[in-house]
Homo-oligomer: 308 residues x 2
């Protein structure tokens, strides 16, 4: 049995911006509430897909406060807090704990390359010591394709041993199912999320916690259906269907593609905006993407039930 | 003739921390003043060597304010302001401009990989537009071995063309002299600093601005001597001597090695402290490093003249 407080399908919610590139809390709140209504068990806000590292600490804290004060349950939020700066990680983590969030998703500091496990251990341990709150639950965020720096198996073991009940899980975005499977087997009770839905059935079969996947921003309903049916006869068919959708989205820069799709089903141009260094998709490209998705069986999401 | 306001030898000053890992402004001010007395024409504070990305925006602003208020001339400071977050870059850049600093040294946003030149152009241009101050002078900070993301020749050309007199130079820490030489030739008036002293004589011969080099933190006097003598008969000998010192320091993690050496010539244990994810050298290792340096002709710096 995993120590994870949460399991299932989590969307790493995208972060909307206005035309002035300022974070748009109104659109953000609506999107997060809709994701929870659409099948997500919880949300991983301020991750890679959420353009979190393109936001300041102040902007991240303000958005989280807005979300919780507008009725998004803090217990259903995993908050990305990993930054290059130790002071920023500690400030964001403390803030998330005080807000009552289910946990934090912590990138390693990713500026310096070729750092040692000892240095990364100190980064995490110093943060935990500074926060000094036994409500803290840390999920490590392993995403070497983007962050370059990652958590080795040895380092994870050391952290789990040093902070039992605090360092309780990981999101494995290595993109390597063999690595995810190894993690699930390595540490009893450790909550292992896959970083995409390709291996969702396998993740659950081997005892993982589910997945935290970018595409849930537009395809939560189908991915949730797969989660609920993974041990049924139709699981392979459902898995194939969500894989197809992901594969099509994966032909484009993912964050811009997700925002493009959202802009269409919400009929809201403003949703296309991304912060530099990302670049939005043109309307023309979004249209082509949507046509391809729909021709492959993708169902445009239902956004009814707003402002509940 | 280069548009650069500054040229010569710049130390990317290391940032000292207390045992509690808080930035130590007293040691920082003393070190910066000493560097300027020891031959540095100017300082590049808050760069890679300065562990800037391990600091919060607040910490960086506070340290800069302390430095200037304690008499370090702002006109001799290039301030590192590049971060992943657009809002942070804009805030730090505006702060440096208001403080009257000679310029800023701007990393590209480095979290997302495989970003486009268009996205990176927008990052820099949006910052320039937000700062909206014609005193702003931007030096691009190209250091792909650490940041992974860099500035392509095409992108540099586009920025120089869009912001003449504002985007005026670059620090090339590619570690590739052929690349630096290409940059010097490519853009008339563009100020090109080498990221180390290995190619200092060549940099000056071809019309570059000098170098911004980590080792100046402990070897400023010798590197300055080479700068002043680059067209003299003894230049090769002086170049070889600084190269030897750098090669020895390069056998160790550079920032920890520099702080270790400083801790010895200042007889101040506290100077060894680095912030995670870096790890300090042990006293034993520092001792071995210093013995090797001295046996190869390195002269321990003179720290007299403090509190002038």
């Amino acid at each position: 049995m995993s120590n994870s407080h949460i399991r299932g399908i989590l969307a790493p919610a995208v972060t909307p911006f206005g035309m002035d590139l300022q974070p748009d809390s109104t659109r953000f709140i609506a999107h997060c509430k809709w994701l929870l209504r659409s099948g997500c068990h919880a949300l991983a806000v301020f991750g890679t897909t959420g353009e979190a590292n393109s936001l300041s600490v102040r902007e991240r804290k303000a958005l989280l406060d807005e979300l919780v004060s507008h009725g998004v349950e803090a217990g259903r939020l995993l908050v990305g807090t990993g930054c290059c700066s130790l002071s920023d990680v500690a400030e964001l983590t403390l803030h998330a704990v005080k807000a009552g969030c289910a946990g934090v998703l912590m990138l390693p500091p990713f500026y310096y390359k070729a750092v040692t496990d000892e240095g990364l251990f100190r980064s995490v341990s110093e943060t935990i010591e500074r926060v000094a709150d036994n409500r803290l639950r840390v999920y490590l965020y392993h995403i070497p394709p983007v962050a370059t720096v990652g958590f080795s198996i040895e380092l994870i073991g050391r952290l789990v041993e040093a902070y039992p009940g605090i360092v309780i899980g990981i999101k494995d975005s290595s993109g390597d199912w063999d690595h995810t499977r190894l993690l699930i087997g390595a540490f009893p009770g450790f909550g292992v999320f896959s970083g995409n839905e390709f291996s969702l059935v396998d993740n659950l079969k081997y005892g993982g916690c589910g997945c935290i996947t970018a595409t849930a921003n537009v395809n939560a309903f189908a991915i949730r259906k797969l989660f609920d049916s993974w041990h049924h006869d139709n699981a392979d068919m459902l898995q194939q269907r969500v894989n197809d959708t992901r594969a099509i989205l994966g032909r484009f820069p993912m964050i811009s593609a997700l925002k493009g799709v959202i802009s269409r089903f919400r009929d809201d141009e403003g949703w296309r905006v991304v912060r530099p260094p990302l670049v939005e998709l043109t309307n023309h490209v979004v249209e082509g993407l949507l046509n391809t998705l729909v021709s492959q069986g993708f169902v445009m999401p239902d956004i009814s039930g707003e402002d509940e």
